[in-house]
Structure formats: structure tokens, C-alpha cells
Symmetry: C2
């Protein structure tokens, strides 16, 4: 029997007679309200901790309306507007944006803070060659002396008049018909008056809510970039975006501290807005760091107040998280007790559970109790099973301390089969946590490092676009992260700066995965001789390099993949078609030994050619290499054209990493014959857990410590096995 | 009844009793020998012109052996060799090449003419930091002070000790077993002694061969680049390659004339050897021009000698054609009477038939009478039909003056069904030529121009790699050329220089087709504001731009396609995934009106997104745009993700060009309802010809001049129809 607890349930009014029984049945030891629900009065009587959501930067429209100059700002770009004739060119700034959400900031010094660019020449137009007229939705910039056939844009500072998340809820739920609802504007704590107001409002709220044990910040000051088009539909969404964290004041303080001035284009970035797929500029990295310092300092003051009131502070890693980067250097200094976040997959689970410097982490499991799934005829159990299977293997590798759910409990209660399943999942989560003692199981005798432009800052956050959405251009890379989330490896995230003077000790294999020119493969970073030399020397000395997609890609000096010599393959972009590069595919290889059917490379990567004489091609299709293995000095290189997540691909990556590290002879310990089954080994307690990652009954053999065990597992099941080699 | 003639047959010894009858039956008025066959003694008695092949730059091994310093040279690159440790790095130059074909030229000043490059830094190592040792296959360059983790290459001048075509024949035909065969080395007429020898040899040969009417040069001085690997198999083949046209003397003369010195790297080009897919450098264009001047001057002297002997000079557009570029500015100055070339497709037919400045052109039809096709059980008729259907539509558009065949006649005679078909094809060719009077039929009221980095010099030669081979990376673009070869348009080939100051008058539509970064899409040429502005202004004023693949692609300033605003689409490379760009596909459009099933874009182009608000998406697949149409000022832009050749795609291009030119309302004249049938209209003679491009019986309606005709055509058939609007 495991002890109850470790479970947070959303509650709401109107369920008072069921709550006590339900909490007891599920073993829930915490309750929370959701956006749009109130905690019931009964909450104080429940044997549970109480979480309450708290908004810092919006929800006080009186304050917002009274301080329009302290509303949050954003940098936006006009549409690209071609001049069809010489002379005056009018650029309507708001043609691509939603005028109720954002409006040009005409109160700032536009000559200083806006930027008009001839995108055909790349030149910024000097002040005096353009003028602003109109206002709001009708704001126009007129370029005088535009050149026929050139394209112009205006980077402009905009006032955010409507918080994007509140706007989304407002539109989705038809709140326009509800007179009690108003449009909420976000305000910016960069302004001392607003900060003092936010600070004192929290004190008041804390005093007014003795029943609350945990203040669940949702979240802090700056929303990720989310801007709507003129049709009020999402036009640009970047969960990592800092465009909405700007203000004249912040930029002036930046210049004071960093010693150089920012431009509008530093944020607009040709219209890519520094998406996390862009190789980050120095200015953008400095801005992240600058805001991280500011935000974590202010957060610390809020957390201090929470603690002073005897409560805990929890951060929801969600909407307004900009500046709090949980893998940032100062995050732990905030004193935040816990982080909660949605765990829809193994990688998102690890993004939460690996956060250092907090007392506990909580994963909000899917599905949300929302009507899209919880409607008559809906099938929340199937969704819950799929998500749980993905999360469980990550939870075993890096334990979450708690799980929870979100949404409207009343909806969930209409699906008794789901409540049954929720009870099982909670029990299973607690059982695993208890028996594993909340510790990590054993992992490989070498570390694996993901090498990209972001490094540690974006741990477990690579290749993600909008939250939980599937992107054709991303899933083949996300599979690498997803596989690693449940594999027995300690995973580091290294930036190019981290390896410039040599790959850190303990790292056995570097992974470089991503599309050409992106921050994730590294783009121009590979143009640096020191970076190339560091990785070549690492491999030559016995290390491994596993490349996925366009690894080390930077078109220069005769190759696309700068380390084509290590990987054994290169990508043909059309210039080398005259070179004949035939290859044979090897029949069998250690890396592909557990593949049943052919290798699934997802979107794959086109036109991969054999580059070295000795490369072994492990898989190919339509004349292009899909997987390859090479020896290089004392080390090894592995190439994969893509790796969407699947049980077989996770096993393939497991093998590829051992092979690349030169540890293939040590492979096979604490592993199941069937790649659909994963094993976590706890040598200190002399046991291992076996996870059936499928919805089928599975029987397989687990080998380890010179022994083997046949295990039978129910669909979705897990089992613990004691070994003879108990070490304590 | 059409007159006989216009047909050249290969003949050989041993068929004397059949030749007269066969020539009469087929209407052949010329005979030729093939490589490896002799003209029979009877040749003087045949009522036919006699062609004889003549080799200029090889075949006199006595001369070659006596003048080793005058053998042809080539620039080659060693393999990319990484330094795994600091210190000495040995680079064996010949590791990637075939030592019997090429050998390092140790007789030249290697410090001046070789180049050792650190490919990791891009820097050329100064003389004194590397040394050469060994010779021949064992030649090694030792880099002293190599840096661990850097990759080094050696660009070296090599002696061509074996002519690649003769080598290919030698190896393929096991001539090593034939003591009468020797390995032939090519010699370079850049050297005065060799030139005088070549010149006087021709005089001797002309005097010795009174029976010859036409000297068929196969070809002149410099072979295209064709280098073999250590396994004696093709390693690098570029039909457009100038790597084997170099010599110290030529480079010194170049410097004298052009005022700047060339480097080895100007030829090695990072190992891409200036493939025609590379955006050509100034040095490479200058070199082509420099060699064109030299070669055409020397060719003129040979042609003068041929003419002085009362014979004609014919050039085979084949192996040793480097420097003779038939669309080069000086080609006509050679005085060459005729060009003959292989016509395997419509585009290769136009490459021959459009050559200006010669008295006549001859197309060598497929298949060759070679054992690969002409063996017991072989099916030469099917090959002949496929090739004839492709060539015929081009021949109608731009008449060849003659056709012919190649190979061993004795092999063809063993396939009587093929001889029957050859007779029909010859008759059909003559019938079309006679009735069309060898003139071009009417074409659209606007010109179409293919815009790329090569322009006119490479007319009908875009996107071709090795001769007649299918390349996955090329066929989707070659389809554009192949479609145009038989469509009723006058086609120009323009370079970016040609349009920098405005698109020439008469051009209605520009086509820009090709992969990202290649000479054919244009690469960095699109970075020039004047180029962009010229095309935008052209379209804005009513012109059309049809883009295929990665048109106007040059990654800069926020877009991949620099003219995304004109095309209405852009290519997403991963940085813009956060931008939501949904699109609908229109139900019907003028451009796609004749498509039966879906659009076939061949390899297509990935990740094409809707870029402008008003773009009409005509076809899409997996979330990526495949075809789109846009209005832009007074003009129009059309995007196609690929266009492999098919009857339907040719019709689609026909429509797209009319639509882009704003002439869609004029479309439908002298065209068949069935896209498998094409029409050529001769208004001066009041008739049109209808071509059935299929192997099926077809019945369709042809519309034109306010009238319509139902035509029925046999498989492969054509028919002439007289109209009422005879104009003369
Ligand atoms: Mg530019
Ligand atoms: Mg470089
Ligand atoms: Mg011929």
C-alpha cells in the first residue's frame, strides 16, 4: 500500500457533497481553482492544501485605464510593402494586426524607437524620410522617396491594449455577451508606480485569503509573444518570444547597463521576432539575460511576501513566463517553492521535473477537463492513457513530485470511467514514486549532451513551436528529445560556447539535431574553426557525434555539413550533382539490430550523400542516405535523417548512443528484448521496474547483471522485479 | 510524295550488297562511319554524301609521347583530409583519383599553381608550410603545422595521361586484351608545336580522303570534365566542365589579357569545379570567354582548311566541345557548316536546332545501334517511338534540317521491325519538313524568357547534369524546358545582367526555375536591388513572372524568395514556423483548367507558405502550397513547386504563361481540347499540323480562327489540316 497524496485536483462550487469522498478515493491532498472557477466555501474544511491562481500583470483594469503609459508594449512589423512606383509609399501599420489587441505607440519618440527599413537594400531609412499620420487602426507611415521595386517595412512599438490570453478566452467563450466581463489590458512592472501597485495588491490579497496555502502565480509579468491578425485569429505565436517584454524604459536601462543601444530591428528580426529556431543574436541573448535579472529580482520580492504570509509560492510554467526561464542562472534565486506545468509528453515532463533549485515539481496531466474532450460521447480515457504512457517513462527517469489535473471537475465527474482511470494513474504514480524513493534510476556510464545554440537555458525545450501542437517541420527532431526523456542517460544541454574550449568531461556523445540554419543544428556557429576543431578533437579522442537532420550544417568551404568527415555523409544542395557517390547499404548493424520493419525517419532529410569512403550506410531510400555510421580516429559518428518518436526509434537511439560512445559491447544490461518495454534499474535497492509502453499484453525477457527474467505485463502495465545484487 | 534525303545513316564494311537498297528505301542521302568502324570501300559509289569522323586532340600517341609537357592538364582537388592531431599532416593526392588517367603535374611551379587550403578557416597556406614528395600515384603533400580538428585540401594541376572517352571505350570493350589498342593521351593545341602539328595533320588527312564530303569533328580540343576514381569508375562528370581546359600557358595568357591572375581554387571551386549549378564566378565566366576566343579562333583555322579542300565542316556537340559553346558570341565566326548532336528529348533537340549561325543542324535520333538495345529480344522500336514523340514536337517548333542515326548498322538490320519504323520516321520527318517548309509555325504574341545566371550562353542547357541521365534533383525543373521545347512560344534565355536595366521589350513572361542557391534560380544574383527592382517593375507594369521550385531564392531580409511579394508564396526554412499562414485552395482556375487528376509537381519543393493576403492557392499537399497565382500591379505572378514533363504539365505551363502575361482571354486559338495533342499553326500557308503525342488512338477538337475541327489520329500519328484563312 502506498500512502495517499501527491495529487492536486481542480475543484469548483456546486460539488460540495461529492468533494470529500472524491478526494479520499483519489488520494488527493491538494485542491486548486481554475481560470474562471471559484474555490467553494467548503475548501477550508477539506483535508487538503489549497492552491489559488493569482495574476500579477493584469486583472486590475481600473489601474490599467488610469495608467495608459504603463501598459505593456510590444514590437511589431508592418506588412512588407512594395513600392510599385517612385515617390511616396504609404504603409498602413495595422493591416496585418488586430486593432483591439495592439495599437501603434504614438507617444514614444518614433524617430528613436521605430525603424523604417528598405528590405531590398537592407538599409534603415533616416528620420525625416518618412512620417507618421493617423492613429490606431488607421496609422500610416508614408515613406517619401521610395524607390520603385523596393520593399519597405516599419518596425513599430505598439501598446498592448488587450492581454492575449484573456482575449482568447473572451472571444472563445463569447464574453462579449456578458456585461460582467471586460477586456483586460496588461501593465508593466518595469514602471515603478505599477510595480508598487502590484506589490501592495499582493499583500492585500494574501491578507484576504487565509484559506490559501499555495499561491499559484499564473504567471508573472510578460506574456510570450501572441499577436492576432485583423481577423482576430492567431497570426504569430511564439511561446519563447520576448517581443511583448519591451518598453522604452527597459531599453534605456539596457543601454545603461550593457553599454550599447538596442534598435527596433533587434526585436523585429526581419519579421522572425527572434523565434527560438533563429540562431540568437548577441542583442537578443543580452535582452533575455537583462530581463531574467529584472524579472527574477521582482519575483523574489513577491515570493518573499508570500513566504512572509506563511504560504508557498508556485509558478505555472505557462502564459506570462517570459523572463523566468527556469533553466536560467537566476531562477533559483527567486525562492519559488514549486513549478507546475503541463506534461503532454515525455519531453515536456522532463522540462518540468528537471528544473533545478525548486523544492518540488508538479505535472499537470492531460487531458484538461474541458468540453473539447469531456463531452457526451467523448473519450477522455484514451487521451489519458496515451499521455500517461508518454509521461510515465519520463517520470520514472526524473521523478515529478506531484501530479495534478486542470479544468472543470464537474465535467470529469460525468465520465465515471475516466474517474476510475484517474484513480489508477494516481495510484500508479504514487507507487512508482514510493518504490523508486523519488530518485533517479541508474543510467549509462557516459553522459549525452545535446549541442545547440541555446544550451542549458532551453533544456528540454528544443524544436518546440506553439504549445503541444504538432508541426510537420518539428516532429522528426522532437523525437530525439522524446526518446531521451525516457532513456537511461544523463542528458546535458550544451551551447557552442560551452564546447569551444573542449567538450566537458563525462560527456560520451554529442547530439546535434535540427534543420539547416536553425539554432538547433547551429547554423553559423559551425563556421567557427574552434567549434569544428573542438568537436573533431572530441570524436577523434574517442567521443561520439550523433547527427540528426542537418547536423553541423553551415554551407561553406565545399560542404553543407561542416563535419561531413565525421558523420560520413553530406547534404547535396545541387552543386555537387556531378560527383558520383554510390553507396551500398550494410545488411546488419548494431545500431539497427532491433528494428523490425524499415527505419522511419519521419520527414527525413533530402539528398544525403555518402561523403567518406568508409562510411557504412545503414538505411537509405530513393537514393538518399537515411542512417549511417562512421569511425573517426578513436571515436565514431552516426547520422540519422530524422527520428520521430516511436518505441523502435527510442531503442535505435539507445543503441546509436552506445555505439557512438564506443560502448556497444556494454549494451544489453537492464534492457528488455522487446523495444516496446523499458527498464529502469535501481542498483542501490536491488530492483528494477519494467514499463509496458503499449496497450497490449506483453511478455519479454529482461537481461541484466548476468541474469535474465521473463516478465509479463498487462496493457499499460508496470512491474517491479527484485534482483539478487542488492547493494545496501 | 516528299523528296528523299535529310537522313544520315552509319555504315560499315561487310554490308556492301545491302547498302544501295537500304539507302534508297530509307531515302538516306548521307552516310558516316562511327567510332570504331571504317567506311567501306564501296562508299564512293553510293549516291550519298560521306561524313567521316575526325579527332583533333588525340589519336596520335607518337606525338603525345614525344611531347609530355604538351599533354592536356586538369585541376583536381585531393580528398578533404582532417588533421586528427597538431603537426605534420600527409595528404595523398591521388587517393580519390585513377592513377592511369591523371597524375600530379610535378613539372610546374607547384608553389604558384597548386594551392593548399585549410577548409576550416578558408585560408590558403603560404608556400613553405607544405611540401610535395613522391610522384604519380604516390604523390603526397605534407602540411607542416596542421591544426588538430582542421580539414585540409590540395588543389593540384594534373597531367591527363589518358583521354577519358577513349579510356571509357577501352575499359568497356576490354581493349586491354587487344594488342592493337593503346591508351591515348590528349594533347593541348595551346602549345604552338602541338597546334602546328594538329593543323598540318588535318591538311594531310584532307588530302588523303578525297571520298569524304563532310569532316565530322568529334569534337575539338578540350574534353568536358570526366575524371575517374581509384576504382576506374566515373567519379566526377560534368558535361559543362572546363577543369580539363587548363594549362600554365593558358593561365599566363589569361593574366596578360584580363589583367588579373587565376588561382587553382578558381577552377577547383571548393570541389564543385564550377558545375553549371553553381552561380558562376567572374573568374569562371572570364575563363569561359577566354577559352571561347581561343578555341573558336583555332577552329576557324581548321574549318578554313576543310573548306579549302572543298569539304564541309560539321561539329559533333559532344565530348570535346569545351570552348565551342554553340550559343557563345563567337561560335558563328568559326565558319562551321553544321552541328550534329544527339536528340533524346525535346530540350536536347532545341539545343541543336536553335543554334544560330550554322547552315544546317542534324539530330542524331535514339536509340544508338548498340548492343545494349539491339540484342536478340531487345525492343528498339519502343525506344525509338518514345524518343521520336519527344523530339517531334520540338522539331515542329524549330525544324532540324536533318536527322541521322549512330552505331552499328549491322545490328539494326537484325531488327527488321526497327528498320520499318526507321523508314516511317524518316518519311514523317521529311513530310513535316516539306509541308512546314522548314519554318517555324506561329507562336504566342509575347516572348517567354528563362532568367538564370547563364542566360543565352546555356540556351536549352539548363538543369542538365550528365548526358541523358535522369537525376532526381533535376527532372522537376527539366520539365519546364521540355514543355517549352514543343509549345508555341518564342523562348529567350536571359542572364541577370540582361535584365538589370529592365526586361527587354517583347518579353511577356519571365520564368525563374531551379533549386535554392543554384545558378538556375539565381542565388546571390537576387541579392542585387537592381535585379529585384527590375523584375518587380516589369511585373507591376503588366509582365508576368512564373517561378518554379525556389524562384528568386536568396535568404535575406526576412524572406527566402526575394520576390515573395510577387509570387504570393515563400519558402519556410524553419524560422517562421511561429507565423500562422493558413490558406484555402481555390476550386477552379484558368491555369489548372485542363488538369485531369491532381497536379504532379515531381519532387516538389517543401514548406511553401502563403505569403500575401491575396494569393490564390491552386494546389496544395501536406500543408504546403504546390501552385499559386497572384496579381501584382498590372501584372501577375505564378508559382509552381515543380513541373516534371507530362502532356498535362505542358498544357498547364502553356496556360500559366498566358495567364501570367495577362493574355488568358486570348488563349484557346490553335489548340486541341485534349492536352495529349499539340497543334502547330502556319497562318501564311493556311494550315495546321496536329501531333498525337501518345501511343493511343485519339479523337479531339482543334479550335482556331473562330472555327473548329474534329481530328482523329492514329497512335503516334500526325495530320495536316487546311484552314480557310490562307493568307497568301
Ligand atoms: Mg537584400
Ligand atoms: Mg569555414
Ligand atoms: Mg548523324
Amino acid at each position: 500500500m502506498t500512502a495517499p497524496g501527491r495529487l492536486t485536483l481542480p475543484i469548483e462550487t456546486g460539488l460540495d457533497d461529492q468533494l470529500v469522498g472524491l478526494l479520499e478515493r483519489l488520494g488527493a491532498d491538494a485542491v486548486r481553482n481554475s481560470d474562471g472557477t471559484e474555490l467553494p466555501a467548503i475548501v477550508g474544511e477539506l483535508a487538503a492544501k489549497v492552491y489559488a491562481t493569482y495574476f500579477v500583470g493584469r486583472g486590475d483594469q481600473e489601474w490599467a485605464d488610469a495608467h495608459p503609459s504603463e501598459l505593456t508594449r510590444s514590437y511589431l512589423m508592418s506588412e512588407r510593402t512594395p513600392a510599385l512606383a517612385d515617390g511616396d509609399l504609404e504603409i498602413p501599420l495595422m493591416a496585418g494586426w488586430y486593432a483591439l489587441q495592439v495599437t501603434p505607440d504614438l507617444g514614444c519618440d518614433v524617430d528613436r524607437w521605430w525603424q523604417v527599413i528598405d528590405r531590398t537594400t537592407g538599409e534603415t531609412l533616416p528620420p525625416g524620410t518618412w512620417r507618421v499620420s493617423g492613429e490606431g487602426a488607421d496609422t500610416v507611415v508614408t515613406v517619401t522617396g521610395a524607390v520603385a521595386g523596393h520593399v519597405y517595412t516599419v518596425d513599430f512599438l505598439a501598446v498592448q491594449t488587450w492581454d492575449p490570453t484573456q482575449m482568447y478566452n473572451y472571444i472563445t467563450n463569447d464574453w462579449a455577451d456578458d456585461p460582467s466581463r471586460i477586456r483586460e489590458s496588461p501593465f508593466d512592472v518595469r514602471h515603478p508606480a505599477t510595480w508598487e501597485h502590484v506589490r501592495s495588491s499582493l499583500d492585500g490579497w494574501l491578507g484576504d485569503h487565509p484559506e490559501v496555502d499555495v499561491v499559484r502565480f499564473t504567471t508573472f509579468f510578460y506574456h510570450f509573444t501572441l499577436v492576432f491578425g485583423p481577423d482576430a485569429k492567431e497570426r504569430f505565436v511564439d511561446w519563447f518570444g520576448y517581443s511583448a517584454s519591451v518598453s522604452v524604459e527597459a531599453m534605456e536601462q539596457f543601454e545603461e547597463h550593457l553599454g550599447y543601444a538596442l534598435t527596433a530591428e533587434d526585436f523585429v528580426d526581419e519579421g522572425y521576432y527572434n523565434s527560438s529556431f533563429r540562431v540568437p543574436t548577441r542583442a537578443f541573448r543580452d535582452w533575455i539575460d537583462f530581463q531574467h535579472r529584472f524579472v527574477t529580482d521582482r519575483v523574489r520580492q513577491l515570493v518573499d511576501a508570500v513566504h512572509a504570509s506563511g504560504k508557498e509560492a508556485m509558478m505555472f510554467l505557462g502564459d506570462n513566463w517570459i523572463g523566468t526561464e527556469p533553466y536560467g542562472t537566476l531562477f533559483a534565486s527567486t525562492g519559488i517553492d514549486a513549478v507546475v506545468g503541463s506534461v503532454g509528453s515525455g519531453a515536456t515532463c522532463r522540462m518540468i521535473s528537471d528544473i533545478p533549485g525548486v523544492r518540488y515539481t508538479e505535472g499537470r496531466l492531460l487531458p484538461y477537463f474541458f468540453p473539447d474532450v469531456f463531452h457526451p460521447g467523448g473519450d477522455p480515457v484514451t487521451e489519458a492513457n496515451a499521455s500517461w504512457l508518454q509521461a510515465r517513462r519520463a517520470i520514472v527517469r526524473s521523478p515529478l513530485d506531484r501530479i495534478g489535473y486542470g479544468g472543470y471537475l464537474s465535467l470529469a465527474l460525468e465520465h465515471p470511467d475516466f474517474v476510475d482511470r484517474m484513480e489508477q494513474i494516481a495510484d500508479e504514480f504514487r507507487a512508482i514514486h514510493d518504490r523508486g524513493e523519488g530518485r533517479r534510476p541508474a543510467s549509462a556510464p557516459f553522459r549525452v549532451a545535446i549541442l545547440n545554440a541555446w544550451g542549458r537555458l532551453r533544456s528540454w525545450q528544443t524544436h518546440m513551436v506553439a504549445h503541444a501542437l504538432w508541426y510537420r517541420q518539428a516532429y522528426s527532431y522532437l523525437g530525439v528529445l522524446e526518446a531521451l526523456a525516457g532513456l537511461p542517460f544523463e542528458v546535458d544541454f550544451l551551447s557552442f560556447d560551452d564546447i569551444r574550449d573542449g567538450v566537458p568531461d563525462g560527456v560520451g556523445v554529442l547530439i546535434n539535431a535540427g534543420a539547416l540554419g536553425t539554432s538547433f543544428s547551429g547554423g553559423s556557429a559551425w563556421g567557427a574553426p574552434r567549434v569544428q576543431a573542438a568537436v573533431r578533437s572530441f570524436v577523434a579522442a574517442g567521443g561520439g557525434l550523433v547527427g540528426v537532420g542537418d547536423p553541423t550544417a553551415h554551407i561553406d568551404g565545399g560542404v553543407t555539413f561542416q563535419l561531413a568527415d565525421v558523420l560520413g555523409v553530406d547534404r547535396e544542395l545541387g552543386w555537387g550533382l556531378s560527383t558520383n557517390r554510390p553507396f551500398d547499404t550494410v545488411e546488419r548493424h548494431f545500431i539497427t539490430a532491433d528494428l523490425g520493419a524499415g527505419l522511419d525517419v519521419g520527414e527525413g532529410t533530402p539528398d544525403i550523400v555518402a561523403f567518406t569512403r568508409d562510411v557504412e550506410v545503414l538505411a537509405a531510400g530513393r537514393g538518399t542516405v537515411q542512417a549511417a555510421a562512421s569511425h573517426y580516429g578513436e571515436g565514431r559518428g552516426v547520422y540519422l535523417a530524422g527520428l520521430p518518436y516511436s518505441h523502435e526509434n527510442a531503442r535505435l537511439l539507445h543503441r546509436a548512443l552506445y555505439w557512438a560512445a564506443g560502448r556497444d559491447s556494454a549494451f544489453g544490461e537492464w534492457i528488455a528484448d522487446d523495444p516496446r518495454v523499458e527498464v529502469a534499474h535501481y542498483p542501490e535497492s536491488g530492483q528494477f521496474v519494467v514499463l509496458n509502453n503499449t496497450d497490449e499484453h506483453v511478455r519479454t525477457t529482461v537481461r541484466g547483471g548476468g541474469d535474465d527474467w521473463v516478465v509479463e505485463l498487462d496493457p499499460y502495465g508496470h512491474a517491479w522485479v527484485e534482483t539478487r545484487e542488492l547493494r545496501r
